[in-house]
């Protein structure tokens, strides 16, 4: 740029009170490359902007410096004005002589000298500015939702209701996630299945939703607006198109004794099964590990009894590739198990609670199944060892949670509430029973939550004991609980019929593998990381990928659903445009000089640097160089500062521009 215009603003008196603006303009006019300089009372006002536009046209300017307030205030304003005259907006820059000068200095001489320097720096920079074109990328308006728990279901329905296509991928044979296993839910005690199943059916029937159950993400490529996702549809051994869901196969399957994981192994299921009666889709799968046919080639009963001939033992895994514009990750959580940990595990576990050797020590989810009307006991609280109704039930909170050395250091957030719920459900079902809860703190910071907890104590007569339990052991048909009440300072011993452990919420096993496929980050516990804890709680730092539910951290249903709807809204915001436009502050690689050391690739926080193969006309590989994907690059410039051969440059902050400013110091 060699015909730069400098416009010095008085900002009423805000600048001119301490800075001699006329002298600044005069000095600016003498700077190399400056063709025109003036000052004006209010540059951002309409007349001010007109003045700028007129000057550009009249003096044939090819660069602009507005010496005024902070660019954070008005850079957009002046770039737009410049653009209106046909100038490239990125050759217009602001020199901040207000926030950084007139407002922070009193001495007129000094302030004026500094203002001149500031203008000088910016003019030197603008001389080297390039015309940049805003970057646009097309948007595929089709969302992928990974995980079909309440989070995934809510997000999928919201996006689909907005009229966009959704692909929902669920690993299990049915959607529903943990919520489908719950009995009644705090803080209102409504039946989980009653509020959940209609939503599951809506997903199945929604014309905009493609549901892949019993499926996993195989591969993810591309970037915001343009992902390619390959889904592995595992072989169900049942043709979904033919199956009517009549259930005859399940009734006739001779393999009936397989522990039912959905019921926490308390009941059994056949080898061809749906996880629970309200499953969506209601199409069975054959559990090949336990099916006689797959183990020994015999049986084949289900195929014989199936009227529509839906059973297909030869079915193979199928790979489907989907074009996707945005991804919502909603893969939920796992529960911490108190089983012994392998020797190399950094956490020790809870041997003192019986390692699953005491049958009447169960976890919270098992209690949910016991309390659930559709559970293995039909909603009666009966203990696993002998099927008797327990009269003294002890609940222990924070098992695995908040235990930095034995388990994990965070609070699982939901167990205080669900334990309070459990004591109530128990009291509702066993009127003459007594519930005890060992706890450290009651963390109930939600709407109507503390009231709920207090109700458990005051109305349902649960006895809360502030203190933890050292050990559990079997004594006859009782489980002895060795605890302490720290308020009284005395040890407490309870001979319980049933002990329920509120085990911690943990990240999904394998969450890190999925994160690596998606290129998103996760914390040290393998929960997915949001881009900003407060202001971008549903976005991943990787553009175009959003988070919903417990995969991001322990969450109850209200929080999960809020986040899922928020993630859906973010997807819709993205889909509201056909093209994505973004500031062209992105890095570019000079392929001729790139030494292929990939130092840039290592430091890039966005994974924007790819390895690009350069081939000759015959297609022979000549060499590999770095290449920045402009759709992904965040524009931090770390690569450039890192590149030892200076082969990558950040547009808008090139070495040339920076050096010019330094020269002008």
């Amino acid at each position: 740029m060699s015909r730069i215009g400098v416009f010095v603003c008085h900002c009423g008196e805000n600048i001119s009170r301490t800075v001699d603006v006329e002298r600044v303009a005069q000095a600016a006019a003498r700077l190399p490359g400056v063709a025109y300089a003036t000052d004006y009372k209010y540059m951002c006002s309409d007349p001010g902007q007109s003045l700028l536009k007129k000057a550009i046209a009249e003096h044939n300017l090819d660069g602009v410096v507005v010496a005024a307030c902070s660019p954070r205030m008005h850079e957009k304003t002046f770039r737009k004005a410049a653009e209106a005259t046909g100038l490239n907006p990125f050759v217009c820059e602001m020199a901040n002589i207000r926030e950084h000068c007139s407002w922070v200095h009193e001495d007129r001489e000094e302030a004026t000298a500094k203002a001149i320097d500031i203008v000088k720096l910016m003019a030197a920079r603008v001389r080297r500015n390039r015309r940049l074109a805003a970057i646009t990328v097309p948007v595929t308006k089709r969302a992928l939702v990974i995980g079909g728990g309440i989070a995934g279901i809510q997000a999928a329905l919201d996006i689909a209701d907005a009229g966009h296509e959704v692909v929902l991928v669920e690993r299990e044979p049915s959607i529903g996630g943990h919520m489908a296993q719950l009995s009644e839910t705090f803080p209102t005690l409504d039946c989980s299945q009653c509020i959940m199943t209609p939503k599951m059916v809506d997903v199945a029937n929604h014309p905009k939703i493609t549901l892949h159950t019993y499926s996993e993400i195989e591969e993810v490529g591309g970037y915001i607006g343009n992902f390619q996702v390959t889904v592995r549809k595992k072989a169900r051994s049942v043709d979904m198109a033919k199956c009517t869901g009549c259930g005859v196969c399940m009734a006739k399957c001779p393999q009936k004794k397989i522990p039912n994981a959905f019921d926490k192994d308390m009941g059994t299921r056949p080898a061809i099964y749906v996880p629970f009666p309200q499953a969506v889709p209601n199409t069975p799968v054959i559990d090949r590990e336990n099916c006689t046919y797959f183990k020994s080639g015999k049986c084949g009963v289900c195929a014989k009894v199936c009227g529509p001939c839906a059973v297909d033992y030869t079915q193979q895994d199928e790979l489907v590739t989907e074009q996707i514009g945005a991804i919502v990750v909603a893969t939920g959580f796992d529960l911490y198990s108190i089983e012994p940990k392998p020797a190399d595990s950094p956490i020790q576990g809870y041997g003192e609670f019986g390692y699953g050797t005491i049958p009447d020590v169960i976890d919270g989810m098992t209690f949910e199944r016991l309390a659930s009307a559709s559970g293995p006991t039909g909603g009666k609280i009966l203990r696993p060892s002998d099927g008797k109704e327990p009269k003294e039930v002890v609940f222990i909170q924070c098992v695995g949670s908040r235990a930095r050395e034995k388990g994990i250091s965070y609070c699982s957030k939901i167990c205080c509430m669900y334990t309070a719920k459990h004591t109530m459900l128990y009291k509702h079902k066993v009127h003459d029973g007594q519930a005890y809860v060992f706890f450290m703190d009651a963390r109930t910071p939600g709407k109507n939550y503390d009231e709920f907890w207090r109700r458990a104590i005051e109305e349902e007569e649960a006895v809360y004991i502030r203190g933890m339990v050292s050990r559990l052991y079997q004594k006859g048909d009782k489980v002895v609980v060795m605890g302490s009440d720290i308020s009284v300072g005395i040890q407490v011993e309870i001979e319980a019929d049933l002990v329920v452990l509120a085990t911690a919420v943990q990240a999904r096993k394998g969450a890190d593998t999925l994160a690596q496929k998606l290129g998103i980050s996760y914390d040290k516990y393998n929960f997915y990381s949001e881009a900003h804890a407060k202001l971008k709680p549903v976005e991943c730092a990787t553009a175009g990928i959003y988070l919903a539910g417990a995969c991001q951290g322990p969450k109850d249903i209200p929080d999960t659903v809020s986040q899922a709807s928020a993630a859906a809204a973010k997807v819709m915001t993205l889909f509201a445009k056909d093209q994505l436009e973004r500031e062209p502050i992105v890095a570019r690689v000079n392929e001729r000089f790139c030494a292929a050391c990939f130092a840039c690739k290592k430091v890039c926080p966005y994974g924007a640097v790819e390895e690009k193969e350069i081939r000759d006309r015959q297609g022979n590989l000549i060499r590999v160089v770095a290449s920045v994907n402009p759709g992904v690059c965040g524009g931090c410039g770390t690569c450039q500062a890192t590149c030892p051969s200076k082969s990558v440059e950040l547009d808008g902050y090139t070495d040339e521009q920076v050096m010019a400013m330094i020269e002008a110091l």
């Binding site: 003192e352 203190g467 050292s470």
Partner: protein
């Protein structure tokens, strides 16, 4: 002091003492969040006036006099149950050791004299004989504690079964043990050891 109000201020909280405990025990006191798991499993709880979790709590508040004045620390059996099960790896057993040492060095402001006496005799025994000499240990303890009749019935039984030796075993290299004791004393005098 037992029931007097805790007056907390930067002066009354003796955190310097707590630092010493932390240094000696190699275990943080602040990590404890008062879950009470230590106290729940402590076999000696019923003999202590402050349960283990409260010992840590009092340290957190810099109220070490209250801890040392009581007999809790002397009634800890060093069974390591608390340290093993603490969710935060507060090494309470080591903290108890540290507190006993500090109390011991300060000539034991604590009430529990029998345990201290037994410890002292045990250590003296090592210094003199190199090994434990159970007969002397028991005899001297009984004399010094004034409990002449205690375990009277056991002694003869043990002797007839050959379990109590009338004469002690002495090491040939007994001089070395004395050297270890005196080197440690020397180091302490020079401030080279805690």
């Amino acid at each position: 002091m037992k029931h007097s109000k805790m007056q907390l201020s930067a002066e009354t909280m003796n955190l310097g003492f707590v630092k010493k405990v932390e240094l000696l025990s190699g275990s943080s006191v602040r990590r404890c969040f008062q879950c009470g798991k230590c106290s729940a499993g402590c076999p000696m709880r019923s003999f202590m006036e402050h349960p283990p979790n409260r010992v840590v709590r009092l340290l957190q508040l810099g109220q070490y006099e209250r801890v040392l004045a009581g007999r809790s620390i002397w009634y800890c059996a060093s069974c390591e149950t608390c340290s093993t099960r603490c969710p935060n790896k507060v090494d309470l057993a080591a903290i108890m050791d540290a507190l006993r040492k500090l109390s011991w060095d300060a000539q034991g402001p604590s009430k529990e004299s029998y345990v201290q006496l037994a410890n002292r005799l045990f250590i003296e025994n090592i210094r003199t004989y190199g090994r434990q000499y159970e007969m002397r240990l028991a005899a001297v303890f009984n004399v010094k504690s004034g409990q002449f009749l205690k375990d009277l019935m056991l002694g003869p039984k043990l002797i007839t079964r050959g379990k109590l030796r009338m004469f002690h075993q002495k090491n040939r290299n007994i001089g070395e043990i004395e050297k270890i004791f005196s080197r440690i004393e020397e180091m302490r005098k020079n401030g080279e050891a805690p």
